[in-house]
Amino acid sequence: MESPVTTYLGDSRDSTGTLVVIFLRGGADGLNMVIPHGDDLYYAARPGIGIKRPDLIDLDGFFGLNPHLKPLHPWWRSGDLSIIHCAGSEDESRSHFEAQDYMEHGGLAAGGWLGRFLRARPDAGQSPLTAVAIGATLPEALRGAPSSAAIQSLEEFGLGPNVPPGFLKSLAALYQNAPRELGPAGRNALAALERIQQLTTTRTPPANGAIYQPDSFSNGLRQIATLIKARVGLQAATIDLGGWDSHLTQSVIMDPPMQRLASGLHALATDLGPSELSRTQIIVMTEFGRRVAENSAAGTDHGRGGVMFLLGGGIKGGSVHVNWPDLAHQLAGPGDLPVLNNYRNILAPILTRQAPTTNLSTVFPNHPLTPLPLYS
């Protein structure tokens, strides 16, 4: 039987695109990131911490970007950035752990949505480097992936520091004549290793004048960009950005991660350049948004609807997807932005774009999908 493995890294380019999933842990306040400045009720609910009209960057006459997200504005204008407001899951616990768990598993389901997707896609498990998580541990979303590695640096790829000089050549000699699937699979792995080795020996600077800030988030994005550009078959990469839990003095807490998010995304998209960006889907998500009204400590409490950002991947950007709710009458529970866009309906079209024939009912079980029209 001819194995489908043969052509995976057969030529100098792999055929796959990459999903980059950025999880803002702690419940990012979507309302102060993408501000409904056309809604006076927003200002009434947030007299202290609301972002004033002169300070924000207007997007469409109704929504505006937090000034700390300014680096994202050019991507909005070029149509590469899409924003989904009132996004979230049906979990009502308002607990970080429960809500993250629920969202990453894709409901009451075994394994993570990303792990299941990587198993369900038709070319599952063929890439030698299916998925990486930048960090110390794998996120729940990646649970059950065909192969996934938590790495802190690119040096953790490859065969490690103890490889003697003749080792790869000897391996190549044995796999040259290996029977059945082992031959092509061995040659794929050797090709991937060669590319990784080039990455770690020659540290190429970021392309197109991209500048990564010296924080660990940007550094992680830089590693992801390197892997994408090296075309080693990376199908998914995950990275977290924490620090969003802003119960008090919100701007003191939330401004720095917003700056890190925006400058990191800007650097990543710049570094990838138009052609790589078009095959890379960058998803920014969080477990829930915050309560609409500010609390007495100039902060916000755990809410429901949040905001998601999508960058690249041929998305038809430049719009905020939402049927903006009436903040006087349409709030959820104790006064939260409602969830009007279930996160599965946002992820579904992205996954379909990534691997068109994938059966999404196994990725998001027990949930009828109504995919959002993200690609025009």
Partner: protein, 490 residues
């Protein structure tokens, strides 16, 4: 807490060895692990295979175990391969006290009643399950039993990351998989149908019909027919799925979220059971049987010809070839039927087919098998801890972490992209870079009697000219053998 990050919580907890909810005993056992796994297998000189082809003893060891230990080829040759098969088919006849003693540290796995498991942190339970599996696969002398435990763990796959399954999977491992691995299939099926972990995983616990308007949840019924018994082409209809679902209504599990008492207890609730008459695969089940509907289902499907054929094909795929010959499937299926679903009798027949003896060395080891066969071949000791588990994750086969009910695939193709990480494992292992995993390279080399003999032991036959010269030029002969095509096969 100003910044909530589950990851940071987890890191901190791991660093202090004090995951929330673990009793003092298990925290202590983590400290004791490395001490307890001090070397007790001796590495005295042994005779590796001397044939250039895979001989009978190598073949039998490779297929019935997780790979040869140093002196095993000589032992099986002396005993006779067929005698070894007979022994392995009767695991209780094989003394294995040292493995049980080693595994005693995983005390959570013996928790009884199920509710006691709730006292543990769920991550601790998954860790103990995983370590126990690694330890038994590596050290148990009842190797065929462990191989079948692995087989049934996939056949009745549960990813315990769903709901209360997080706490209840150890019960399933103990009372479904391990208790019946070489026993009676109908009994195993019944145990699985009433396993609280499975009832969570496949939503059986919410399969109810309290009144005319409620529709049963078909998930468990469908997987029961499609994956656990008859196979997707087994000849049942959507109507059969719905009728089986009706039969299984009313079996509930006491939930952690609703009650602190007897959590995990499986109870039949008459008020949630559809007690009307049913028709399953042409057989009438009269009204009013209540919980006995489940027994009728087992009678109808567990020994159905489609079940016999489906299980025979899966067993032949594991033990003979990815694409097993029809002749072998047929004779194994009839052994299953004749023995009323005795797994031992079915395997006895399988190991007696000419196809079993003639298909040698062409199966690809799955990653778990690859890792365990490395540990066994080198008489290594591993705590089965985070470093080794991390390798299994990278290799895509961390135990108990396959998300969908079909279990880790047996055939080679889905695993072919794992070579790079296999090579990495081979390199890290042979350079003693895996924390918590150790072996003695000099003793091993001396016991084998030289590089070529060690290669013959690892490859199951004498190395070819190419293999010998590649080993020399590689600069790391052991790692090269472990990374070689031949070591990926069995």
């Amino acid at each position: 807490m100003s910044e909530i990050s589950r990851r940071n919580l987890l890191k901190a907890a791991t660093a202090t060895g004090a995951l929330a909810g673990i009793g003092g005993f298990s925290a202590l056992s983590h400290i004791l692990n490395p001490l307890l796994s001090s070397n007790s297998d001796d590495l005295s000189p042994f005779q590796p295979p001397s044939s250039s082809e895979i001989d009978d003893a190598t073949h039998i060891i490779q297929r019935l175990t997780f790979g040869p230990r140093p002196a095993q080829h000589a032992e099986v040759t002396k005993l006779g391969p067929r005698q070894f098969i007979a022994q392995q088919l009767n695991p209780t006849s094989i003394p294995d006290r040292s493995t049980d003693l080693r595994a005693a540290r995983y005390e959570a796995l013996r928790a009884n009643p199920p509710g006691e498991l709730l006292e543990y942190d769920a991550r601790e339970l998954l860790d103990q399950l995983t370590r126990d599996k690694i330890l038994r696969a590596t050290h148990s002398k009842r190797q065929l039993h462990e191989v079948m435990v692995d087989f049934w763990s996939d056949h009745f796959n549960i990813d315990p990351s769903k709901g209360d399954s997080r706490w209840l999977k150890p019960i399933d491992d103990r009372e479904v998989i391990r208790a019946h691995a070489l026993g009676s299939f109908p009994e195993m099926l019944k145990a699985s149908l009433l396993s609280p972990s499975m009832l969570w995983y496949l939503d059986g616990r919410v399969n109810r019909r309290a009144n005319e308007t409620e529709r049963p949840n078909e998930n468990h019924a469908r997987e029961l027919l499609e994956l656990h018994t008859m196979g997707v082409h087994g000849g049942y209809t959507q109507q059969d799925v719905m009728e089986v679902a009706r039969c299984l209504t009313g079996w509930t599990v006491r939930e952690r979220a609703k009650s602190g008492f007897a959590v995990g207890k499986v109870e039949f609730r008459k008020d949630l059971h559809d007690d009307g008459p049913k028709l399953v695969l042409g057989t009438h089940i009269p009204a009013g049987l209540g919980p006995a509907d489940l027994d009728r289902i087992i009678e109808i499907i567990s020994l159905h010809p489609s079940t016999a054929h489906y299980l025979a094909e899966k067993l032949c795929r594991r033990f003979i070839a990815d694409d097993p010959p029809q002749s072998a499937i047929d004779s194994v299926a009839s052994a299953f039927t004749r023995s009323n679903g005795s797994i031992r009798e079915t395997l006895t027949k399988l190991f007696d087919t000419p196809e079993f003896w003639s298909h040698r060395g062409a199966k690809i080891k799955r990653p778990f098998h690859f890792v365990i066969s490395t540990l066994r071949a080198t008489a290594a000791h591993s705590d089965g801890g985070p470093a080794l588990q991390n390798h299994l994750l990278r290799l895509g086969q961390a135990p108990f972490q396959f998300p969908t009910p079909d279990g880790y695939p047996e055939e080679a193709t889905p695993w072919m992209a794992t070579l790079l990480w296999r090579w990495r494992f081979a390199m890290e292992f042979s350079s003693q870079s895996i924390k918590g995993t150790r072996f003695s390279p000099t003793k091993l080399l001396r016991a084998a009697g030289g590089e070529n003999q060690l290669a013959a032991h690892l490859l199951g036959r004498t190395p070819s000219q190419d293999e010998s010269s590649a080993a020399i030029t590689s600069g790391a002969p052991l790692a090269l053998c472990l990374a070689s095509p031949a070591f990926q096969t069995f």
